[in-house]
C-alpha cells in the first residue's frame, strides 16, 4: 500500500543539501503496525515528516497506492495520510467532539459542514479509541493522555489509508504507553489501515510492532520483524554505545557494569529474578554452576515477609529488603562503581 522507493531524506537550504539518510526502500502493508526506532539524531523525525508529506525528499518517491504523495495537492494527501504530532494542541474552546470533527476537513465542503455520515464517522472514531466520556469535554481540560487519544480519534476520522504518529507515547506513563500500543495494534487490524509510529520505547515496540524500521545513526535503514532484527544483531549494532548494552536474551537495554564479583544464589521464582536484578545492578554475577563455587552465597526467602540471607567470608547477615542487601553486597565487594 505504501511504498518508499530509493528515498533520500535530509534538508535543502539555499541550494545546499544536508543528507540524513539515503537509499531507503520500504513497503508497508494494510493492517500493519510499524515502529520506527533509532537513536537520537539518526533522522527519525526527518523520515516521519518526509513520509507524511510535510517535507520534500532529496531524492526518491513515497507512494500511496501507487501515487506519489509529494506530487498531490494537500487535500488529496490528507485523504490518504493522517498525522498525529508530538506538539500539544491548544485548541481553545473546542470540545473533543469538535476536534475529532476537524478530521473530516478534507472531506467536507467550503464551510466545513458535517453531514450525517460525517457525524457517524466521528462517533465511530471516538468509540474506537475509547474516548466516549471525553467527547463533550473541552480540549483544554484534558490531560496529555486524553488529548493523545482524542488526536488519534481525529486522525481516524480523517479516514486515511495510513496513519503516522510521531512519538505518540513520549509523555505518557508506562501503563498508558502499553495501552496506546495495544490500541494502535487493534486499530491497524480492525480498520485495515497501516500505522507508522516513531518511538523511543524500544521494549514496547519489540512487543507490539509487526515490523520495525531501524534507523541507526549514519547507517542505512533496516526493516524486519522485531525478532528477526534482534537475532541478526541489528539492534545491538544500532544502539551500541558506551556503558549501555542491548541484551538480546531479554530484548532490553542493560546498563553495563564492571564485573566486581560472583555469588551463589539459592532460591527461585519471582524473588530470585528480582534478587538477580539487584545483584546485577551492583555488578555482581550469579554463579552458573561452572568453575569454582564463589565464597559468598545469597539465599532468597520464600516470600517478601521472609528475609534474605547473605553468608560467606566468615560473616552471615539477614535483610528484610533488597535495598539493604544491595548495601551489604556493595561493601562486601568494595564496589566503587555506583
Amino acid at each position: 500500500m505504501l511504498s518508499i522507493e530509493s528515498l533520500s531524506i535530509g534538508y535543502r537550504n539555499r541550494g545546499r543539501e544536508t543528507l540524513v539518510s539515503s537509499g531507503i526502500d520500504l513497503e508497508l502493508r494494510e493492517g500493519e503496525l510499524v515502529c520506527l526506532l533509532g537513536p537520537n539524531g539518526a533522522g527519525k523525525s526527518t523520515l516521519m515528516r518526509t513520509v507524511a508529506g510535510m517535507q520534500d525528499p532529496l531524492a526518491g518517491r513515497v507512494l500511496v497506492d501507487g501515487e506519489n504523495i509529494h506530487d498531490m495537492p494537500a487535500r488529496e494527501r490528507a485523504k490518504r495520510l493522517s498525522v498525529v504530532l508530538t506538539e500539544r494542541v491548544e485548541a481553545g474552546l473546542l470540545t473533543a467532539y469538535a476536534l475529532v470533527g476537524l478530521g473530516r476537513y478534507p472531506h467536507t465542503n467550503w464551510s466545513g459542514k458535517l453531514s450525517e455520515r460525517d457525524h457517524q464517522i466521528i462517533v465511530d472514531s471516538i468509540e474506537r479509541v475509547g474516548a466516549e466520556d471525553l467527547a463533550h469535554r473541552y480540549v483544554t481540560d484534558l490531560s496529555d493522555g486524553e488529548r493523545q487519544r482524542v488526536m488519534m480519534a481525529r486522525a481516524l476520522a480523517q479516514e486515511p489509508r495510513m496513519m503516522i504518529l510521531d512519538e505518540i507515547t513520549a509523555f505518557l506513563d508506562l501503563p498508558r504507553r502499553v495501552d496506546v500500543m495495544r490500541l494502535l495494534r487493534r486499530l491497524a487490524r480492525e480498520t485495515g489501515r497501516a500505522i507508522l509510529i516513531s518511538t523511543h520505547d524500544l521494549e514496547l515496540a519489540l512487543r507490539a510492532a509487526d515490523r520495525v524500521w531501524l534507523l541507526p545513526k549514519g547507517g542505512s535503514l533496516q526493516a524486519g520483524a522485531p525478532e528477526d532484527l534482534v537475532l541478526s544483531g541489528a539492534f545491538e549494532a544500532a544502539f551500541h554505545s558506551e556503558g549501555v548494552d542491548f541484551d538480546p536474551t531479554r530484548g532490553a537495554f542493560q546498563v553495563h557494569r564492571h564485573f566486581v564479583g560472583e555469588v551463589e544464589l539459592v532460591g527461585d521464582g519471582l524473588l530470585r529474578y528480582w534478587t538477580e536484578r539487584t545483584l546485577e545492578r551492583e555488578g555482581v554475577h550469579v554463579w552458573t554452576g561452572e568453575g569454582a563455587s564463589p565464597d559468598v552465597s545469597v539465599s532468597v526467602p520464600l516470600d517478601t515477609t521472609g528475609q534474605w540471607a547473605v553468608s560467606g567470608r566468615g560473616e552471615s547477615t539477614r535483610f528484610g529488603l533488597l535495598y539493604d542487601l544491595a548495601q551489604d553486597i556493595r561493601t562486601r565487594f568494595h564496589a566503587t562503581d555506583l
Binding site: A52, M54, P73, A74, R75, R77, A78, K79, L81, V83, L85, E87, V89, E90, A91, G92, L93, L94, T95, Y97, A98, L99, L102, G103, Y105, P106, W110, S111, G112, K113, L114, E116, D118, H119, Q120, I122, V123, D124, E132, A135, H136, Y138, T140, Q158, L174, V178, R182, R185, R186, R189, E190, D201, E203, L204, R207, A208, R250, A252, F253, Q254
Partner: protein, 375 residues
C-alpha cells in the same frame, strides 16, 4: 529499564451500528442548545440599539416614527426626516458596519496569530492606516488640495488608498516576522510599529496647513459620525467584501486552531489561508479607519465577548457572532457618545477604552482562560 508486558490485542469489536443519530445527546450541552437563543438575543440587541441610535440625540425622535421612516413611511415632522437622512442614519449604518468589520478582523487575526490580544489596533494596522491617511492629506496640502476636494469621491478614494497602503505595509512587516517570534514579541512589535507610525504622522502633519491639521486631528479622534452618503459607495462594498471573505474562510480558520503544522496535514494550504486572512483583515480595517479614524479596542475585545457568549472557538458560529457583537458594541459605544450630554465631552475611543480595557485585563489575568483563548 522497565520491562513492559504486552497483552494480546482484544478481539475485533463490531463497528458501531450505523444510523445512530449524530451527534449523540451526551455530546450536546446546555450552551449548545441555547446557542440559537444567544444569536437571537444578539440580533435583537443590534436592532434595538440601532433604533435607539436614531431616536436619541439633541432632538428626540419617537421610536415609532423612526421605525416608520426605516420602512419607507413619512414622519410627522419634516425636520425629523432630514435629521434621520442626513445625520443619524449614515452614522448608525457606519457604526453597524464598522463594528462588524473590526470584530471580524480581530477574530481572524487572533486565530491566525494564535494570539488572544491580536487585533487591528494592537498589531499596528490602525496606526499604519493613520499614517497612510496623513500622507494623503499632506500630499494634498503640498500639491494643492483644490483638485482633491473638488472631487469628493476621488479624494475619498485617495484617503482609502492611503489607509490601505499604510495598513497593508504594517501587516506585511508583522506577517513576515510572525512565525519567528513569540506571541508577546509580536504584540510589542505591533504596538511599537504603531507608535512609530504615529510619530511619522506628526512629522507628516508638519507639512500641512493649519486647517488641514485640524481636520486631521478631528478625524484622528475616531468617530462614526463623519461619514456621509457620498462615501458609502466606497465604504460599504469594501466592508461587505471583507465580511464575505471572513465568512468564506471559517473552515481554514478552524483548522488553524490546531496550529499551522496540523492544519497542513488536514489538507489546508497554509500559505493561501494566511494570505486570505491577512488581506481580509486589511480590507476590513483599512476603509473603516480611513473614514472613521482609528477606532480602538473593538477588534481586540469583540472576539472574546463572542467566545464568552457562545463558549466555542468554532468559527462557523463565532464569525457571525463576532460580526453581530461588533455591530452591537459599535452602535452602543456610539450611542453613549451622542447621548444628549450637556457638553460634548465623551469621545468614541474613550468609551471603547472604558469598556475594552477591563475586558483585556480580565483576559490577561485569567491565565487559564488566556491559554484556552490562545486560539
Amino acid at each position: 529499564m522497565e520491562s513492559a508486558t504486552m497483552p494480546p490485542p482484544s478481539p475485533a469489536r463490531s463497528p458501531v451500528p450505523p444510523g445512530s443519530s449524530p451527534p449523540p445527546d451526551s455530546v450536546r450541552d446546555l450552551r449548545t442548545t441555547l446557542r440559537p437563543i444567544a444569536f437571537l438575543a444578539l440580533l435583537g440587541g443590534v436592532a434595538a440599539v440601532f433604533v435607539l441610535e436614531l431616536t436619541i440625540g439633541s432632538v428626540r425622535i419617537p421610536p415609532g416614527q423612526v421605525v416608520r421612516y426605516l420602512f419607507g413611511g413619512e414622519v410627522e415632522v419634516a425636520a425629523w426626516g432630514t435629521i434621520l437622512r442626513e445625520l443619524r442614519l449614515p452614522r448608525a449604518i457606519t457604526a453597524l458596519l464598522g463594528g462588524a468589520a473590526l470584530g471580524a478582523a480581530g477574530l481572524q487575526l487572533q486565530t491566525l496569530f494564535r494570539n488572544p490580544l491580536a487585533g487591528p489596533w494592537a498589531l499596528g494596522l490602525t496606526a499604519g492606516a493613520q499614517l497612510g491617511v496623513a500622507m494623503v492629506v499632506a500630499t494634498g496640502a503640498v500639491v494643492g488640495s483644490d483638485l482633491l476636494t473638488q472631487f469628493t469621491f476621488f479624494s475619498d478614494l485617495g484617503i482609502v488608498t492611503g489607509a490601505f497602503l499604510g495598513a497593508g505595509g504594517v501587516m506585511a512587516v508583522i506577517a513576515s516576522v510572525s512565525r519567528r517570534v513569540s506571541t508577546i514579541t509580536l504584540l510589542v512589535l505591533g504596538l511599537m510599529l504603531g507608535f512609530f507610525a504615529q510619530g511619522l504622522v506628526s512629522v507628516v502633519l508638519h507639512f500641512t496647513t493649519e486647517t488641514q491639521g485640524r481636520v486631521f486631528a478631528s478625524w484622528n479622534d475616531g468617530s462614526f459620525a463623519g461619514v456621509h452618503w457620498e462615501q458609502f459607495p466606497v465604504l460599504v462594498p469594501l466592508v461587505l467584501v471583507g465580511l464575505g471573505l471572513a465568512l468564506s474562510i471559517v473552515k481554514p480558520l478552524n483548522a488553524l486552531l490546531l496550529g499551522e503544522r496540523y492544519a497542513a496535514t488536514l489538507g489546508l494550504s497554509v500559505q493561501r489561508a494566511r494570505l486570505l486572512a491577512l488581506a481580509g483583515a486589511v480590507i476590513l480595517a483599512a476603509p473603516v479607519t480611513a473614514y472613521c479614524g482609528p477606532v480602538l479596542f473593538v477588534g481586540m475585545i469583540v472576539p472574546h465577548m463572542a467566545r464568552g457568549l457562545l463558549n466555542t472557538s468554532d468559527h462557523r458560529i463565532l464569525m457571525p457572532a463576532a460580526m453581530l457583537m461588533g455591530s452591537l458594541l459599535g452602535l452602543s459605544a456610539d450611542l453613549v457618545v451622542h447621548l444628549p450630554w450637556e457638553r460634548h465631552f465623551l469621545h468614541l475611543n474613550a468609551v471603547n477604552a472604558l469598556i475594552g480595557a477591563p475586558v483585556v485585563i480580565a483576559v490577561v489575568l485569567r491565565n487559564r482562560q488566556m491559554r484556552s483563548m490562545a486560539v
